[in-house]
Symmetry: C2
Subunit: 214 residues, 2 copies
């Protein structure tokens, strides 16, 4: 198809398609003349991926890094997916120390590998420092429940991962990590509300409220 | 104690303590002279709460709204806690429609109350719209796992809620909602990495990678 049809079929405006071509995010088409080129379904899929990554709040350089990883066949698929996910926010400053003692303790408790090169280890350390600052604790009871249930969620997510091309796998891993996160966050708050309303509106509580209102 | 000692014991700088007094976030002390006043443990606790809320990224007007709710005895404790949590980001524009069909469907599937006044219902709707835009789905299998495991997490969190004063309960609910969220998000990414490394480094995969490298 011509570039105009590519734009129409992908739903990406023509100037944007040309911009992605110039930036190298979209691979060039098959040349048909000095100025024309033919595009195929690969281009439509790639445009869909670029648009989705952009919709997830990623900048052009970070999208480029992810697309480069899709075709980085010198790395294992696991390594490519891990590095692609590391492009997602929150971004962590390069710390010369590279030690995350709080995260290490938590991961050892959960029986998981502690590898300080994983960006999420730095995220966990930051989150644990935030807890301390707010005077909150991560008791063993809480951590055991977190570890068990988060693992249950992650297992279903890994099981549902498509096993076709690396592009599909990277797409699922990056977008899935980013886009299901707010779903889980909202569900947690709604579960609190659901459980809290049952807890706080026991018959005794009803009476107390009525007494307060009078 | 005098205001200078309050500052020293709470770790909040004296000009900041005075600012909180002027803004009404910190209640006035017991006057002892035309210019002096006495402060107590209530003031230290209040300063700790203000500092923690501020550390969670809340603005002064939102901190004031939460503190007002602590003492709003005309509302039930459940109502006060719910409204206090609604001060947390993400903030949703007032939508004149107030209908959240995607969130409603999800909540009905999970057997939870659908109440469009809950801010988290709008969060869920937004997250579900984001999924659609990225071409991702929320299958029944995934949603069942999410619902079950998030409820498990929320149950432990509600169980651990302190039942002393409303101030303590609001503190736990608001800070707990905000500060454990990034812990859970980081743990999810680490669980993916843990499960993924096992999945991607099966003996067959090892061979494939070695073949690619050669």
């Amino acid at each position: 198809m011509k570039i105009s049809e590519l734009s129409a079929r992908s739903g990406v405006a023509l100037p944007t398609v040309k911009y992605y071509l110039r930036e190298g995010l979209l691979m060039a088409g098959e040349p048909t003349s000095a100025t024309g080129a033919q595009y195929g379904d690969d281009h439509i899929r790639r445009l869909g991926l670029i648009r989705a990554l952009s919709g997830a709040g990623l900048s052009i350089p970070r999208i480029r890094a992810i697309l480069d990883l899709v075709s980085a066949t010198d790395l294992s698929e696991f390594e490519r997916i891990g590095r692609a996910i590391a492009q997602l926010p929150p971004h962590v400053d390069n710390d010369p120390v590279h030690e995350f003692p709080r995260a290490q303790k938590v991961l050892e408790f959960l029986g998981q590998v502690y590898d300080p090169r994983y960006v999420a280890v730095a995220h966990l350390e930051q989150a644990l420092i935030g807890l301390e600052g707010a005077g909150l604790t991560l008791s063993e009871e809480r951590l055991r429940a977190y570890g068990e249930h988060i693992r249950g969620i992650a297992e279903v997510e890994i099981d549902l991962m498509p096993l076709g091309s690396t592009e599909e796998a990277v797409r699922y891993a990056v977008l899935g990590t980013a886009m299901y996160e707010p779903v889980l966050t909202a569900l947690r708050r709604l579960a609190h509300q659901d459980l809290g309303s049952a807890k706080f509106t026991s018959p005794a509580e009803h009476t107390t409220n009525r007494m307060k209102e009078n």
